[in-house]
Symmetry: C3
């Protein structure tokens, strides 16, 4: 499922002064630079059980960035495949009973082989089926959970507004739910929006990169899961890796936004930018703030 309601365009939301100060406990420019270089040097193999809408875009995003995607979802092989993968992502966008069985078995295999895995609870509030599947997957101990404000609130059991499928709730509204989820499940939680929020329950970061055209292109959120997984597979800790991955994604979005004339030309420029952005341009362009 892809659900991204168009909204009036706003100019990019940039935090007024967002340079990471070197004395904070979060990732500084050097750490971001290293995280990208390390991911590219390894080209980690990431297994993805994702929705039909996102598969192609996600593979292209990961290839452009320098990771190795593998879309393997059948129960007959997905749990076996996770052994040779370095990380896993599971996205509940397009569900069916056979896929859900495979998701559960593969998530459990990832945990038992100590491979990090990313959960994307797409539109979790929209139907009972989604709520049940997401709750079951949450118990399979994801390393990272990424969603929009409404999804993170719904997953945390907080009443969400809107029609239940779009991100009517802002990132700012969802920070408390994110921290609760992070602490209760020992996961890094990332909330996507005009500004992104990442927390592991103790540390927090805001990332203010990205462009308003991004929600006008389908599957860019889903594809980000693969980038987070690739950084986490090769990085030092999941919090730093997630922040670095989201900053990298946003910096590529900044660059693409400058060239785009609409969502079609945005995608083209975005894929080009994912390949072109290097550690130095990431360190220079990232707008990460670490609230105390």
């Amino acid at each position: 499922m892809t659900v991204t309601p168009p909204r009036p365009n706003k100019s990019p939301l940039h935090a007024p002064s967002a340079a990471t100060s070197p004395d904070t406990p979060g990732p500084d420019a050097v750490a971001l630079n290293q995280a990208l270089n390390q991911m590219r040097a390894t080209a980690p193999l990431v297994q993805n059980i994702t929705n039909y809408v996102a598969m192609n875009m996600m593979a292209n995003v990961m290839l452009a960035a320098g990771a190795s995607p593998a879309m393997v979802h059948a129960k007959a092989e997905a749990p076996e495949f996770v052994k040779i993968a370095q990380a896993l992502t599971i996205n509940i966008g397009t569900l069916s009973p056979r896929w859900v069985e495979s998701m559960m078995a593969t998530a459990e295999a990832a945990v038992s082989h100590q491979k990090p895995w990313v959960l994307d609870p797409v539109a979790v509030g929209a139907t009972d089926y989604r709520r049940q599947v997401a709750a079951d997957l949450l118990h399979a101990k994801p390393s990272i959970i990424r969603g929009n404000g409404s999804e993170i609130m719904a997953l945390a059991g907080v009443q969400a507004t809107g029609r239940g499928v779009d991100s009517a709730d802002t990132v700012e509204l969802a920070t408390e739910a994110a921290e609760t989820l992070a602490r209760d499940h020992g996961a890094v939680v990332a909330v996507s929006g005009p500004r992104d929020y990442v927390t592991d329950g103790a540390r927090r970061a805001w990332i203010s990169n990205g462009h308003p055209l991004m929600p006008r292109v389908t599957a860019l959120g889903c594809s980000l899961n693969g980038i987070i997984a690739a950084f986490t597979a090769t990085g030092s800790d999941a919090f730093t890796s997630t922040v670095a991955a989201m900053a990298f994604y946003g910096v590529a979005g900044d660059i693409a936004g400058e060239q785009a004339r609409g969502p079609g030309s945005f995608v083209v420029a975005f894929l080009d930018a994912l390949m072109a952005v290097d550690g130095d341009s990431l360190a220079l362009g990232a707008r990460v703030t670490l609230p105390s």
Copy 2:
């Protein structure tokens, strides 16, 4: 399934003088303008059960145009989801028994919740399975049926030419079948081609926008269903909404065609144009004629 046989390029087929005269009973320039503005102001949530080939493109087309797509097809949730959606589309492009069950149940749910739904009988003449599924869906009372000339003729039980899967039959050959279908099933019927034809059995319209590169890009027909559904969800009546949606799509195609150097650059320019075309440019560019 996607079946669009390349043909020799022709220059765009533009009706010689196609300005809508304000005294005809069909949609005039003001109505087209309003239809687009109303759709954009509402950003209707449209549920789509469509084929694997089209899912990504359809979502991107709808997001670019300003609608909110949701691809939800599993029987466990699709009939429930239709309650929060404002319209539904069903496309039989890639079939399997489980999907067919879900299509039937969701179409029935749409009717009982009074949500308009669009049927696309892809390649209905190609196999017995398709013929059966399309006939069953037809009895579930679609609000709008959209196909190419061969598909509309096959659905109406008229002998189609060609190999049964492509649009060997012209739009012009299919107008009678379209009117019969419309009257027998109380639906608006739209026939896509170099010129598009729309009828509800009483009213008729020809739309002469669009570009010969459009059939060289996969899933543009399927994606149009989502635009028609979005216009119908927010418009006054299904006939006017369908004409407005097809004119909007064609005007975006006209603009893209001017910039394209082939099917790759056409898609980029088309998505950009779907976002850029506003009510005024639609009213100005639309070539709609209303035969008496």
Copy 3:
């Protein structure tokens, strides 16, 4: 599944002097020219059972090139559909039990109706399930087998290096395995890589067109299967058709590479080039060598 690990970019690998000399037994410039023109004149209908990641791109590639793709995979109709198709491709990228049943039945139907079919044993070495499915399909007598070096070696039962899912093995390492496969199964075997290798067990050709950005775009290998099938459906013999199809694909890649600034702009230029390249530019640009 899509598995294409990024590698350091190399400059295109062009054989130093690769003009086809007219006295060799392989396809010369005239044969290449004719093969493309014949394919375009016929616009053959090619049925594809391919993975979810590749479906959209494969359809767009085939439409751009001038063929007619049809993605039909359900067991209820796929074996019936093959009767009206002119060729078939089967790709084991995303597997599930129901799809495997349909693949077997459709391959057998293709053979009994004397339609050529192309097998793509994606990541055959990665899991037991894949090995079993590929072995079963091999017994259903594909006309052409196309894969990367690792896949061809794994299919031939030769120990492959690497993590089993990427093309750690070069084309050059796989030529012996390719010839064994070709002779044992009466098939044309094509090995994709910086240089492509084609053999029917008796004849051999190297094709040195293409661009290093091609493995950074997902599904370009899968999509090539459809081009090979289209050329084979309309050509004189499978070896010549496969060489012509791969040279055509590579020449389009050469042209796109000159315009691209990254994988996003590469795709756009590649689709445009697939439509723009004609018989003369193919004959002029192809770099085919025929080792004695």
